[in-house]
Amino acid sequence: MALFNIFNIAGSGMSAESVRLNTVASNLANADSVSGSAATAYKARYPVFQALQASLMSPGAADPATRGADAAVQVSGIVQTTAPGTPHYEPGNPLADANGYVYSSNVNVVEQMADMISASRSYQNNVEVLETSKQLMLDTLKLGS
């Protein structure tokens, strides 16, 4: 039954969004982390979302026109941004390099907060879909009573 598939689809959406929230939490927590070199400074992480079509894995369904309706979402990986961390002159810091510089993370806090709101709204959307589908299924079960 198609409504059962919605549980998997919305569930995959919730799981992907929670991974996104996790990366945001990690980025925000490390926003003020410093490191002794530019290479080891904390870099912001982002999940990469990918549509996962179960029917594509079955033979004879490669034609996009005949693709099934089910497209769950999966996190295909976590990427780290490549922007270098900004150097600060802090000779008193125990992590400072020979020239007295420490390197902060490249996390943009404002961007992370916006990302957090976006992820949280998408999560809520998926929960709403799940709730509605559950109610429809329960109504169908009670049919004729």
Partner: protein, 137 residues
Amino acid sequence: MSLDLNTYLGVEPDALKVYSQRAEVLAANLANADTPGYQARDIDFQAALAAAGSQGGTLQPVTTSPQDVTAGSSSGGISTEQFLKYRIPLAPSLDGNTVDSQMEESQFAQNTVRFQAILTFLNNRFSELTTAITGGQ
């Protein structure tokens, strides 16, 4: 006079299947609201219903996986698969995603109301039957 339950219930069970199918398509759109390059889809319900009416056939639910069970498919049935279309985005986004969450939400709500309307119609038919069987006792 015998009563064929399938004929008695009319097009409603088929419509119910297509509505649940459409709910699945819309749920997939919402789940992929943040997936780069994902293209939103929808079932062209009006075209599907018009085709069903003109050919006198019944609507067939689209099968999404090999495990799907198709209920005794009549050969004259129309598949909803051909009515699965890609949405034309109102505003293009840089990452190629064409999902408009607000639009999908409203379509999903609309679909839910229609699904519940069909459920109400079916319930009425069943209570008609119950009245006929019990003689209004």
